[in-house]
Amino acid sequence: MFGLDKRDTTLFLFVVAITLLAPFLLNPFPTESALAQFNAGYPDLMQRFVIFGIFAIGFNILFGLTGYLSFGHAAFLGVGSYAAVWMFKLLSFNIVPAIILSVLVAGVFSLAIGYICLRRSGIYFSILTLAFAQMSFAMAYSVLSNPNFNLTNGETGLQVYADDPQILKGDGPDFTHLFGLEMNTTKTLELGAWAFQFNAGFYVCAFFMIIAFYIAMRIFRSPFGLMLRAIKTNQTRLNYTGLNSRPYTLAAFVISGMYAGLAGGLLAVTDPLAGAERMQWTASGEVVLMTILGGAGTLLGPILGAAFIKYFENIFSKINDTVLHSWFSFMPESIDNFLVAILYPFVGKGWHLTLGLMFMLIVIFLPGGLVDGGQRLWNRITGKNRTQAEPVANPKPAE
């Protein structure tokens, strides 16, 4: 189906089902129960799952397939956001032109940056992309927001004001909309003790993520994808066979830049505001983290990683010492205080500490990410040894 083989079709349908049923699946605890704080099924968070899923899928096309580690992908995300908000400001709140423009602008931008950065590989490439991203951040933050020429609105962030032209707006809605369907429309379905929320913005983003996943899947299975893997495995040998690898890497770079632009555009769609901090290099580090955590070079990995990080970011940073005390309140006072004192630095505001530790542990012990870990576990349970599974996952080049 859809030009995919049987196994891939299953995987694709699985992702579609998971995404569309997310409001149910992410809401396993009744609204009134004590565990309801672990629910992730509310619009804001679900939107971030799929948007950063798109971002990570795109990053994986570059990093997972070609092995080029870009440390500046957040720049494309930011550019996409700015482009989308400018469309809102100039035309109307309709999201279609905004998303088209954000993808196009990010594509052109990544073509220019990729053309320069891809002249070098390895660590130089990482540092060049990092330098470009920091430069874009500085430009967005201060250079391009002076009184004569205000493109980014600096620290405040770009947003839509009442006196903006919005020439096509007419009497359309005052929030981002898809031909009249406002993105913050939420329908709540009450089923017994559960309340499931269906949000228009989430479903629009989910639609784009499914398309993005499908395209990524086709790329992974195409001769083009095979060529990208060849670049990762041994670029020198590829050059000696007379192939110029740069057009392929550039194409991968631009594609992943456009994915990032799409994600940025969707961020603006769910909340019409674009700030420079989206382009900072910690944001680039975050998408690297998502991809590695889920499993670089796998199809499902980036989505898993993005959801994992966004979920824990949200949940962990909500836990404060009162919550901790309520968890351990069944224990004697001293043990309770002791446990809270130990755990407190890792939650709430200290969530980044947990993130950093998790990152290190994953890179050290599980370089293949969660997907690889899951496969190993599965192989151990079913009794297959790893050498049998190896040729499929990592074909050795013929000498």
Partner: protein, 340 residues
């Protein structure tokens, strides 16, 4: 003329910091072949060694002075720092006042320790892994270190004053017949950086240990075959690189109040410095550090910022991109280093 000199001076202190960090990065890269994203965090830890020492020296014993009264008429509580009660008032105050230079003494063993533990405990396991993995694990480590510092010291910058004697202004133009007042501590910082840099170079050039390390940088295998335990010496070099970054941080604390994300701010720029100088070239790193520092300060003049707004924020990146495209090996890069 004096305006130009002023910008050169301005560039020197920032350039010194870049040069010191870049020197450490290059040492680690040249010896161990590892790209250390946690190097900025080491710089930041150095600054917090100074902060900690200042706090420790200010630990006070509280005594009630029955003769003095506060404005409510209660006996006044007097805080006397322990060092004052131990060494007498004048000596104690001098010690507290000179806490930042004293922190150098504390920072050297601490940073050597941290460097040693980092190399033996973590980085050692990553020599055979791809560069991407090394970048990622040290990036994670940088996040962890900075969050630990944040947990202890909070997120706000902490004022760490220089000694009173060096906190004033020196007239740098006196011997040129000009008036060019300049903060004394920044000059001290530059001199200090020059001493540390020459110290590292002298160590590599004139000691047997340094000779072996240089030989190991050129051809690690042969040195190993000659029966020298090169790994152990490289570990020491990692410690020295960490100490250099730490010292740079200690002395930078009075210039700019340290906060926990200092490391990340300096790290990106230091990488650019290393790449511009030429990966693996120690003189290149130092040269590029000063050149880029001075360029940055010239770009921050009013003339430059009115011509091209915000040029001071992007000049380093622009220069780096131009240099990398025109001369991919960097200013003083050697052939065959990091060229796949």
């Amino acid at each position: 003329m004096d305006a130009i000199l002023l910008q050169v001076l301005n560039g020197l202190d920032k350039g010194s910091a870049y040069a010191l960090i870049a020197l450490g990065l290059t040492l680690i890269f040249g010896t161990l072949g590892v790209v250390n994203f946690a190097h900025g965090a080491l710089f930041m830890i150095g600054a917090f060694v100074a902060v900690t020492l200042q706090r420790v020296l200010n630990l006070s014993v509280v005594t009630v002075d029955p003769e003095k009264k506060d404005f409510l008429g209660n006996p006044l509580q007097v805080q006397t720092p322990y060092v004052e009660s131990w060494f007498g008032e004048a000596a104690g105050q001098a010690i507290i006042n000179w806490s930042v230079p004293l922190a150098i003494l504390a920072a050297i063993p601490i940073m050597l320790m941290i460097g040693y533990v980092m190399e033996r405990g973590l980085i050692r396991h990553f020599y055979k892994r791809p560069h991407a993995d090394q970048i990622l694990v040290t990036f994670g480590l940088a996040i962890v270190l900075q969050e630990i510092v944040k947990a202890f010291f909070g997120a706000n910058p902490i004022q760490t004053p220089a000694p009173d004697a060096l906190a004033g202004v020196w007239n740098m133009g006196a011997w040129l017949g000009m008036s060019l007042p300049y903060p004394a501590w920044r000059i001290v910082y530059f001199i200090f950086a020059a001493i540390v840099i020459s110290g590292v170079f002298a160590f590599l050039q004139f000691t047997t240990f340094g000779m072996v390390v240089r030989a190991g940088m050129a051809d690690r295998e042969t040195v190993g075959i000659l029966g020298i335990n090169i790994d152990r010496r490289f570990t020491v070099m990692f410690g020295i690189a960490a100490a250099v970054a730490g010292l740079a941080g200690v002395m930078y604390a009075p210039i700019n109040p340290p906060n926990y994300h200092w490391g990340m701010d300096f790290l990106v720029l230091s990488f650019v410095v290393v790449v511009v100088g030429g990966m693996g070239s120690l003189p290149g790193a130092v040269l590029a550090g000063f050149v880029l520092g001075i360029l940055e300060s010239f770009a921050s003049t009013t003339w430059a910022t009115t011509t091209i707004p915000g040029i001071n924020q992007i000049i380093i990146y622009l220069v780096a991109i131009v240099i990398l495209l025109a001369r991919p090996r960097g200013l003083m890069g050697r052939k065959g280093v990091m060229e796949e």
